[in-house]
């Protein structure tokens, strides 16, 4: 097997930081799901935000840019369709994984599980102590407590925003079972929970993933699926303690997590960076618009 000469690393991508071979972190399924989340989320936020802040100066022009209220409504429902599709697919994926896994308990508990555990509380307390110089920085397993929060926030968000959104999408149907004032509540819950989600993603998630000094200006691991050994040793040291990655190992073609990965091609790195920066730019612009509207109206 001939390994082509690897491209030079793209230093803008903090997942390509430092020396060392690459290791797989996300499979194609994860990356495509995340891409669907990005596309649908931006579609939903872009088309929903002008409605939420219809009095803001930017609401009218943004609506016009989207093709008017009716077109925005259609795009919003397409975004909702994508969301329900990836959400359903993910539930299926989880069931499939639980059934097929040789040790299903490892998915539900332990260092590789996304389920919040006592260690996350310990990590959180350690993080706070570290902030105040009262102890060393916590060392994370496969998922830091921030990443677990992000993951479950999608479940919470889809349930709350998706549920209230469905009610408002088909009010005549739902009014057969529930009184009409629930739509008043659904409107508030839908709008505020969506504002929470958008604000959280565009500030907290972006900071945690892209803006903090260790990651700045971008972490494209969710786009390329792989990171350097150096990155993994800093971000997820406890994973790297369990596995051996050497430059001499042949890269895995199955993209199986924790196996050696070929470095991303220059082209893939650039595309990933372009997508990442575009999302960050739009997100920050929307954050500015939200702040403007919240302060003024």
């Amino acid at each position: 097997m001939t390994v082509p000469k690897p491209d030079a690393p793209l230093h803008l991508d903090s997942a390509q930081r430092g020396e060392g071979p690459f290791v797989w972190r996300f499979q194609a399924y994860h990356r495509w799901t995340h891409a669907a989340v990005i596309v649908s989320f931006f579609l939903l936020v872009l088309t929903g935000l002008p409605l939420r802040f219809s009095q803001a100066f930017w609401a009218g022009p943004l609506m016009a840019l989207l093709g008017g209220v009716e077109m925005a409504g259609l795009l919003h429902r397409i975004g909702a369709g994508i969301t329900f599709a990836y959400f359903g697919a993910h539930l299926g994926f989880l069931v499939h994984k639980l059934v097929r896994a040789p040790d299903p308990m490892k998915l539900l508990w332990g260092p590789d599980s996304l389920v919040p555990q006592p260690r996350d509380v310990v990590d959180f307390v350690r993080q706070i102590r570290w902030y105040f110089g009262r102890g060393p920085r916590p060392r994370f397993t496969r998922w830091s407590y921030m990443e677990k929060f992000d993951y479950f926030a999608v479940f919470w968000g889809v349930a709350i925003i998706g549920g209230s959104g469905l009610m408002l999408w088909f009010p005549e149907f739902f009014a057969r079972f529930i009184p009409g004032w629930v739509f008043n509540v659904a409107t508030i819950v839908h709008a505020d929970e969506a504002l929470l989600a958008a604000g959280f993603i565009f500030t907290i998630h972006f900071f945690h993933v892209h803006f903090r000094p260790e990651k700045f200006p971008l972490d494209a691991v969710m786009f390329t699926g792989r990171a350097t050994k150096a990155y993994m040793e800093e971000e997820h040291p406890l994973v790297m303690e369990q596995i051996e990655i050497h430059a001499s190992q042949p890269p895995s073609l199955e993209q199986k997590p924790d196996t050696p990965a070929p470095p991303p091609t220059r082209r893939a790195s650039l595309i990933a960076a372009a997508l990442g920066f575009a999302a960050v730019a739009v997100g920050l612009a929307l954050t500015g618009m939200i702040l403007w509207a919240v302060i003024l109206y």
């Binding site: 009218g60 009716e70 009010p171 505020d192 000094p213």
Partner: protein, 398 residues
């Protein structure tokens, strides 16, 4: 050619006219006003300038096309029947024929200091017949004539009245009064009658409704503000529709204009409407989202407690169904004007709004602090040059 009248016959009968133009008079079988006032060259010899001569020229063609087309010069220029014209020859006032109109005019604003006399509006030799005033051209001509003093901007392209109703259609043309005057056609007290002359169905429905009945109470001095209204403007026709530059219901801007007009007097409802999906979508230009009159009606609006109201308990579901065809009784329990600050009236809305706001503030405070402290720590370490020093010191629990 006009038929000869007494004046022209008299002129023709004069045997000798010394000093008259030899050619014109000698050739004319019957000397007429035109014999002299149709000859610019001749007139020029008797006055200092060519301009003066032009002014003396007979406007025969103009007069022939005017309302006075069948009249002769001397019917108005009575003192000029004889030739040579006497030094004190006079022209008759319009009121010598139009006595009643002149009397009515004297009661209006235009008569103050003779601000606008007959000729200022009607012209002189080009007086238009009434039937011509009642054409689109007539309406436009009148707008131009009135516009020479009144600068009220009229966007002729949008205003549905632009080509069909002249100024005089609404403003009494002779006893012209300002809208503030209780006797004016355009005063809120009289708009029902003025507009109703053409729009009878609407005016009749309005007269009995919550707006029509409020006008007499509000329009008079010391009028009282009805409960719920936030503006003292009496809700007669123009309060909602505007006057000059109003929009037709078919105009794309009509709905937004109406919301703005209703908001003018019903502020709290405008705010709760703007917070609802109906209001948000309509603010952004949706043509289908319900606006005020889609639910409340327009002419014939009653308080929700009145069974005639489109939003009364008896009729609300039918009103919802005009857009939401499958709506059920439960559907009509939606609160289109819910106020999230009114805990008594809208407890569910109040609590969901305040809980959500608390949740948002809480989440952003906690994670904002988490983020800010993270940055502060890294900044502090960077200053001390120990950025990654403490990183691998501790083992994670496993």
């Amino acid at each position: 050619m006009r038929r000869p009248t007494f004046g022209t016959l008299l002129l023709a009968a004069l045997p000798s006219l010394s000093g008259a133009p030899s050619t014109a008079l000698a050739q004319a079988a019957r000397p007429t006003c035109e014999s002299c006032h149709g000859e610019l060259e001749f007139l020029r010899q008797h006055v200092p300038t060519l301009e003066d001569a032009r002014k003396l020229m007979s406007p025969e063609a103009t007069l022939a096309a005017s309302a006075h087309g069948s009249m002769s010069c001397s019917d108005c220029h009575d003192g000029f029947r004889r030739y040579p014209h006497g030094a004190t020859a006079t022209t008759l006032n319009c009121q010598s024929c139009h006595e009643e109109v002149a009397r009515v005019w004297s009661l209006g604003m235009h008569a103050l200091d003779s601000a606008a006399t007959c000729r200022d509006c009607h012209g002189t030799h080009d007086v238009k017949p009434l039937r011509e005033l009642r054409t689109p051209e007539g309406a436009r001509a009148m707008r131009q004539a009135c516009g020479s003093c009144h600068f009220e901007p009229v966007s002729a392209g949008l205003d549905p009245h632009a080509d069909s109703v002249s100024c005089a259609g609404c403003h009494e043309p002779h006893r012209t009064l300002p809208a503030e005057d209780e006797r004016a056609n355009t005063n809120p007290l009289n708009q029902g009658r003025t507009c109703g002359a053409c729009h009878d169905t609407m005016a009749t429905a309005w007269r009995a409704d919550v707006h029509g009945t409020a006008v007499p109470e509000m329009a008079r001095p010391g009028g009282r503000l009805p409960e719920g209204a936030t503006s003292p403007e009496p809700p007669a026709c123009s309060a909602c529709h505007g006057a000059h530059g109003m929009l037709a219901p078919s105009d794309p801007g009509f709905q937004a204009r109406m919301v703005e007009r209703c908001s003018h007097c019903h502020e709290p409802y405008a705010e709760s409407y703007a917070d609802s999906y109906h209001g948000q979508a309509s603010t952004l230009g949706s043509a289908v989202a319900a606006t005020c009159h889609d639910c409340h009606g327009s002419h014939g609006i009653y308080p929700a407690s009145d069974p005639r109201s489109t939003v009364s308990d008896a009729r609300r579901l039918d009103t919802c169904r005009t857009c939401h065809q499958q709506a059920t009784a439960g559907f009509a329990l939606f609160q289109p004007h819910a106020d999230h600050n009114d805990r008594e009236k809208y407890p569910y809305v109040y609590w969901s709004y305040h809980l959500m706001t608390t949740l948002l503030i809480g989440v952003f405070l906690v994670f904002g602090a988490h983020t800010a402290l993270w940055l502060a720590r890294l900044g502090f370490d960077a200053l001390r040059g120990t950025s990654h020093g403490a990183r691998h010191d501790v083992g994670g629990g496993s």
